[in-house]
Amino acid sequence: MKKIRVLLADDHKLIRGGLRLLVEQQPDLIVIGEANDGREAVSQAKSLKPDVVVMDIGMPNLNGIEAALQITQTHPEISIVMLSMHSDESYVLRALKSGAKGYLLKDSAESDLIKAVHAVADGKSFFSPAVSKVLLDDYVRKLKRSGAEDTYDLLTPREREILQLVAEGKSNKDVANLLNLSVYTVETHRSNIMEKLNLRGIPELILFAVRKGIIS
């Protein structure tokens, strides 16, 4: 069985050590490199071509978000799990925009890292449950205070289905095959969803899905 090759990027040796320990306990995972800052992470990712990069957001020289952006721009096949202390929407959204597929809080790294690495290596998304909770809390509070209605309720069952599949990283074609629809119909549904939820771009759509607990 082919092992999943992992690159660890964190500016703290202690953390990297802890992460390496976690990863190497798994028989199907192997750490192929460690990077001390963003620049090193980019150059190592480009030369080592790992399957998954586990990367801290707050790093000197080049932060994790910028590094992720540079990696996914040239190597979209590399999946990135972002490590962060912050469960705030701003971070999650920026991480998603930079192309990261997983978003892991450092608090829960110990319990969730392996799940996250497996999920993103499999082409899926992964978010720490605590992140979903914070996003949802913010969303609910805002709705309550502003008296607005939950835009999710505006979606039809079919649209919700498609929202989930798109948020999980499926292409229009995949969705069309899965649901036995034409690509054109899927596209129409997608643009309707974006309009109803007032979203701009896939990162916001994924964020919305995470918030609603549709994906994790």
Partner: protein, 473 residues
């Protein structure tokens, strides 16, 4: 003098002027006051003196003219009375009026008395020539009286013959004599008049001279005082300018100082925050990972050890949380990690979570390449305004707008809380905001009124950053 009393009790503020300087200034002021007083007195004195002298000269001139006229008048009376006497005397002597209308001795005596009284009425004059002439005249009249007394002793028989002789030898020469004296008196009178007029002119000239001197003196004094005043004013102006410059300089220094304070504070916060995050936070994070590892090593049925581990883990997690909160407060890493707008959005949500106020953030064309100073300034500005709104005004909603325009960035924080009077309550927070904004060359405005919410507006110039390509080359 109330002004002086006020001066002498210096105000209680710390701006009490240098006592030595005040004393000198007061002395100089007194000197100027005295000088002005003297000048004024001089001018008034000169004016009064001139008026008095003119009035006096006017009186003298009048006296001279009226004296001349009176003497002339008296002289005419004398001449007329002499003629009358002469006429009567002739008729008395000759007794040639057949009708018996000839004058009597009493008539003659009366006539001569008239002449005497006419002479007597001649105004006294201190001119010696006139007095001599008058004396001579008096003598003539006395002679005539004696002659008349002599005439009265005449025998009626010889009277006619002697009368002719008397007229020819005594009366005619007497009359000529008297008229001659009158003539001389008249001349003397004229001379007196011209003499007095000359004196008058001389006095007038001396008055003119005196006035001229006074005017010159006053002019000189005025020029002197003006020069002193001008010098004093110039000195005051120079001192004022120097003080203003010193004030402006110290204000610039103060601004620089407070700006440096802000910068140093920000730097300190950042380094402490990084220190906390990097050292303490990461160690704790690693500790958590290790605890997790340990948990797998400890057998699941060892309940005591597992409970202990769980407790250790929760303590460590609490420590992580505390450190993170402190580090966030000191220096939000969002500014560095995400940029200004996401950091503001984070802050807005953070406040929304903590308080009852819902904060919205709107941004327009805000560039990612803002200077660190500017980002921190806007971040702290928004933080301060939102914290104020959340903790003091019980606002339900707040809106943050950040819009970048050509050359400047516009920040506006509006809340719908209870508001305040910006003219009265200006806490350290607002001062700090002003300080930060002014340091970057911007302007801060706070509009609020009780019950009307508050709007904090800042307009800060944006210096175009050197483009990355340029900075790398």
């Amino acid at each position: 003098m109330p002004a002086v009393t006020k001066e002498s009790s210096p105000p209680l503020s710390d701006s009490a002027p240098d006592p030595q300087f005040t004393q000198r200034a007061r002395k100089l002021r007194g000197l100027l006051l005295v000088s002005f007083g003297c000048l004024l007195a001089l001018l008034i004195g000169a004016g009064l003196d001139a008026l008095r002298s003119l009035r006096e000269l006017d009186g003298v001139e009048h006296d001279v003219a009226s004296g001349f006229a009176a003497r002339n008048q008296a002289l005419s009376t004398i001449i007329v009375s002499v003629h009358l006497y002469d006429d009567q005397m002739r008729r008395y002597l000759l007794q040639d009026e057949p009708s018996g209308k000839n004058p009597t001795a009493e008539d003659i005596a009366r006539k001569i008395a008239e002449v005497r009284s006419a002479l007597h009425s001649f105004p006294a004059a201190d001119d010696s020539a006139v007095q001599t002439l008058l004396e001579r005249m008096r003598q003539q009249i006395l002679d005539q009286e004696n002659s008349f007394a002599d005439v009265q002793t005449w025998e009626p028989q010889s009277r006619r013959k002697r009368a002719h002789d008397f007229i020819g030898d005594t009366l005619v020469p007497w009359r000529a004599q008297v008229l001659e004296i009158s003539q001389q008196l008249s001349t003397a009178n004229s001379k007196m008049l011209s003499e007095q007029n000359r004196l008058l002119a001389a006095r007038f000239q001396s008055l003119e001279f005196r006035l001229g001197w006074l005017i010159v003196l006053a002019l000189l004094a005025g020029v002197l005082i003006s020069v002193v005043c001008g010098w004093y004013i110039l000195r005051l102006e120079r001192q004022g300018r120097l003080r203003y410059q010193a004030l402006a300089r110290s204000r610039v220094e103060l601004e620089g100082l407070s700006a440096r304070l802000v910068a140093v504070q920000e730097q300190e916060r950042r380094s402490i925050s990084r220190e906390l995050h990097d050292e303490v936070g990461q160690s704790l994070g690693a500790l958590l990972v290790e605890i997790g590892q340990l948990g797998k090593l400890v057998p699941g049925d060892d309940r005591v050890a597992q409970a202990q581990l769980t407790h250790i883990k929760s303590v460590a997690e609490n420590a992580v949380k505390s450190v993170r909160d402190i580090a966030l407060l000191l220096r939000p890493p969002m500014l560095d990690d995400l940029g200004l707008v996401p950091a503001l959005e984070w802050q807005a949500r953070e406040i929304s979570r903590r308080s009852d106020m819902e904060v919205e953030v709107h941004s327009e064309r805000v560039s990612e390449d803002l200077s660190d100073e500017l980002k921190v300034c806007i971040y702290r500005l928004v933080q301060e305004a939102l914290n104020n709104a959340a903790s003091h005004s019980s606002a339900k909603n707040a809106k943050v707008t950040v819009a970048q325009r050509a050359g400047s960035i516009h920040v506006e924080i509006t809340d719908n809380g209870s508001g305040f009077d910006p003219g009265h309550s200006r806490g350290m927070g607002i001062l700090g905001m002003e300080e930060r904004v002014r340091y970057l060359g911007g302007r801060l405005a706070i509009a609020s009124a009780p019950g009307k919410g508050a709007t904090v507006t800042a307009e800060i110039p944006v210096q175009p950053l050197p483009s990355p390509v340029e900075s790398r080359s």
